[in-house]
C-alpha cells in the first residue's frame, strides 16, 4: 500500500482535533465510569474503579420506577411518531397536489405555527388540558407532540412531494386505483426519505423532552425518563450522585446505540429538522 506523505500541518491539525474530540467525549466517559464507581471513590474525579460497582444501579432500580419510565417514553414516542407520519404525510400530499387557494391558505396557516414558541401557549394548553380532562395523560402528550410537529413535518413532505412526478399517480388512477390506494401503495413508500428525516428529528426531540412532561404530566406512573432523572437528582436523598449517574447512563443508552448505528441519517435528519424556527 502506497501512502501519500502527509505534511506536518495536517498531522498537527489532526492531533489538535483528536485532543478536542477527547475533551468533548470526556463527560460521557465521566458519566459511565461514574455510574460504576463505589461511593468511596465517587468524589475523586480521576479515580478509576478497579472493579465494577453495581450498587448505584441497585439503588436506581429500587427507588425509581425505571421500567415505567422507559415504557412511558417509548409508548408516547411511538404513538407520536406514527401519528406525525400518518397525519402529516396525508396533509403534505394533499397540499402538494391540489393547487387551490384554500389548500395554500391551510399550508401557510401550518407554517405560521413555526414561530409560536411553547412559552406563548403553554399555560393556555395546560388549562385546556384540565378542562377537557386530558391533563396528566399520555394521550395528551401524544396529541401535543403530533400537533407540534405539524408545521415542520408538513413542510418537509410538501417539499419532498415536488420530486415525485404526478404521472406515477395518474397511471395508477387509470389502472383503477382510488386516491386512498394510490397514496398508501405508491406515494407513501416514495416519501420514505422524508419520513426518515422526520422520524429522526422527532425521536431525539421527544425522547429528550423535559419541559413537556414537566408541564403536562403529574402521576409517577405516567412519567417519562427525563423528568424522572430531574426528580431523582433534585431529591438528592443521600447526597450521593452515583445513582443519579447510573440512572442517567441507563436513560441515554438507547439514543447512544441509535446514534452509533444510524449516525449518517441522524445527522442529515437533524439538519433538515432544525430548519424550523
Amino acid at each position: 500500500m502506497v501512502r501519500k506523505r502527509r505534511n506536518p500541518t495536517d498531522i498537527a491539525i489532526e492531533v489538535g482535533l483528536f485532543l478536542f474530540a477527547c475533551v468533548l467525549l470526556y463527560p460521557i466517559y465521566f458519566l459511565y465510569v461514574g455510574s460504576f464507581k463505589s461511593p468511596a471513590i465517587f468524589y475523586d474525579p480521576f479515580a478509576f474503579p478497579k472493579e465494577l460497582y453495581w450498587g448505584s444501579f441497585a439503588i436506581v432500580f429500587e427507588k425509581v420506577k425505571l421500567l415505567d419510565g422507559f415504557f412511558n417514553t417509548i409508548v408516547i414516542m411511538s404513538f407520536s411518531l406514527v401519528s406525525i407520519v400518518v397525519i402529516c404525510s396525508m396533509a403534505g400530499y394533499a397540499i402538494a397536489r391540489v393547487k387551490n387557494r384554500w389548500f395554500q391558505a391551510i399550508y401557510y396557516l401550518f407554517l405560521s405555527g413555526m414561530i409560536v414558541p411553547l412559552q406563548t401557549t403553554m399555560v393556555t394548553i395546560f388549562k385546556m388540558g384540565v378542562s377537557i380532562q386530558l391533563i396528566d395523560t399520555r394521550t395528551f402528550m401524544v396529541l401535543l407532540y403530533a400537533a407540534g410537529a405539524i408545521p415542520i413535518a408538513t413542510f418537509i413532505y410538501v417539499g419532498f412531494m415536488k420530486s415525485i412526478p404526478k404521472e406515477i399517480e395518474e397511471s395508477a388512477f387509470i389502472d383503477g386505483c382510488g386516491p386512498m390506494q394510490s397514496f398508501a401503495r405508491i406515494v407513501l413508500p416514495l416519501l420514505l426519505p422524508a419520513t426518515g428525516t422526520i422520524l429522526i428529528t422527532n425521536v431525539t426531540a421527544i425522547y429528550n423532552d423535559f419541559m413537556g412532561p414537566l408541564l403536562y404530566l403529574k402521576s409517577e406512573s405516567k412519567m417519562t425518563l427525563m423528568p424522572q432523572i430531574v426528580q431523582f437528582y433534585a431529591n438528592k436523598q443521600s447526597m450521593d450522585y452515583g445513582p443519579v449517574f447510573a440512572l442517567s447512563a441507563l436513560a441515554v443508552l438507547p439514543l447512544i446505540l441509535l446514534f452509533i448505528f444510524t449516525q449518517k441519517y441522524m445527522i442529515k435528519g437533524l439538519i433538515v429538522g432544525s430548519l424550523k424556527g
Binding site: I13, L17, R97, L109, G148
Partner: protein, 290 residues
C-alpha cells in the same frame, strides 16, 4: 380528475387541520386574550389592558433574563459562530481518524440537556474535575464554585451549552462546506491565492446562507434556553442565571401569574418573529446575488 379527488384531499388535510387548530391555533388566540388580563389560571381572568406588557419593562427578573439572553446571543455571534466555522473547516479534510473525530463532535448533539446538566454539575462542582485540574496546573487562584457565584454562573452556563451547541453548528457548516465545488479552490490555487485569501474570498461568501441559518438558530435557541438553568441553578444565585423561558415558566407555575407569563410569552414570540423577518430579508437578498 382534480375535482373528483378534491373531496378526498380535504379528508387528507382534515386530521392535521383539526389537530393544529385545537392545540396550536386556538390556544394561541386564547393566549393573546389572556395576555391582556390578570389571571391566576383558576379564577376568571380580569381585563387590564396593556398593564402586563408595561410591567415587563419594570420587572427586574425579566430584565435580568433579557440581559442574559442578550449576552448569550452576543456570545453566539462573536465566539460560537466563528469557532464552529473554524472547526468545520479543519474537519473538512481526510484524516486517519476522520470518522472518530466527526462522531465525537456530533455526538453531544443527541444528548439530552437533562443528562448534560447532571454530568456537568459534578464536573463543575467545587471538588469536581475542573477545579482539580486547575489546582494541578498551579492555577488555584481560578478555583471557584463555578455555578454558585454570581459573576461566573451565567458564563459557565453559556460555555456548557457549547458542549452541544458547537457540534450542532459544525454539522451545518460541514454540510455547507461540502456543497462548495472543489474546482473553485483548485482554480484559485492556480491563480496563486493563499489559504487565508481562499477562505475569505471563496469559503465565507459561499457559506453565507449557512451562516445566516446558524446565526438564526443560535439566537432562537438561546431565547428558549430552559432545561440547564432550571435544573442546575433555578436561575440563581439571585437572578444571575435567569433566562426568558425560565422567567415565563416561573411566572405561570410558581407565582400563579398566568396573564403576565403569557404576555411575556407573546413578547418572546414577537422577538422570534422579528428575527425571522430579518433573517428572511438577508437570505432573500443573498439569493438575488447568487
Amino acid at each position: 380528475m382534480e375535482r373528483k379527488w378534491i373531496g378526498t384531499a380535504a379528508l387528507f388535510v382534515l386530521p392535521a387541520l383539526l389537530l393544529f387548530i385545537t392545540f396550536t391555533y386556538y390556544p394561541f388566540i386564547r393566549s393573546l386574550y389572556y395576555s391582556f388580563t390578570t389571571w391566576d389560571s383558576i379564577r376568571k381572568p380580569v381585563f387590564i389592558g396593556l398593564d402586563n406588557y408595561a410591567f415587563l419593562f419594570e420587572d427586574r427578573k425579566m430584565i435580568a433574563a433579557a440581559m442574559n439572553t442578550f449576552k448569550m446571543a452576543l456570545f453566539g455571534l462573536l465566539i460560537q459562530n466563528p469557532l464552529a466555522i473554524w472547526i468545520a473547516v479543519l474537519l473538512n479534510r481526510k484524516f486517519v481518524t476522520g470518522y472518530f473525530l466527526r462522531a465525537a463532535v456530533f455526538f453531544p448533539v443527541i444528548m439530552s440537556l437533562v443528562v448534560l446538566s447532571v454530568v456537568w454539575s459534578q464536573i463543575l462542582s467545587y471538588e469536581g474535575t475542573l477545579n482539580l485540574v486547575l489546582n494541578q496546573l498551579g492555577l488555584s487562584g481560578w478555583v471557584r464554585d463555578w455555578l454558585g457565584e454570581t459573576n461566573t454562573v451565567f458564563i459557565t452556563i453559556i460555555l456548557l451549552t457549547q458542549w452541544q451547541g458547537l457540534g450542532y453548528c459544525v454539522i451545518f457548516y460541514l454540510a455547507g462546506l461540502q456543497s462548495i465545488p472543489a474546482d473553485l479552490y483548485e482554480a484559485s490555487r492556480i491563480d496563486g491565492a493563499g489559504a487565508i485569501q481562499r477562505f475569505l474570498k471563496i469559503t465565507v461568501p459561499l457559506l453565507m446562507p449557512t451562516i445566516t441559518i446558524v446565526t438564526f438558530l443560535i439566537i432562537v435557541g438561546g431565547l428558549k434556553l430552559f432545561d440547564i438553568p432550571y435544573i442546575l441553578t433555578s436561575g440563581g444565585p439571585g437572578t444571575a442565571s435567569y433566562t426568558l423561558a425560565l422567567a415565563i415558566y416561573n411566572a405561570a407555575f410558581r407565582e400563579n401569574n398566568a396573564g403576565y407569563s403569557i404576555a411575556a410569552g407573546v413578547v418572546l414570540m414577537l422577538i422570534i418573529m422579528v428575527i425571522t423577518f430579518i433573517q428572511l430579508q438577508i437570505t432573500r437578498r443573498r439569493e438575488v446575488e447568487m
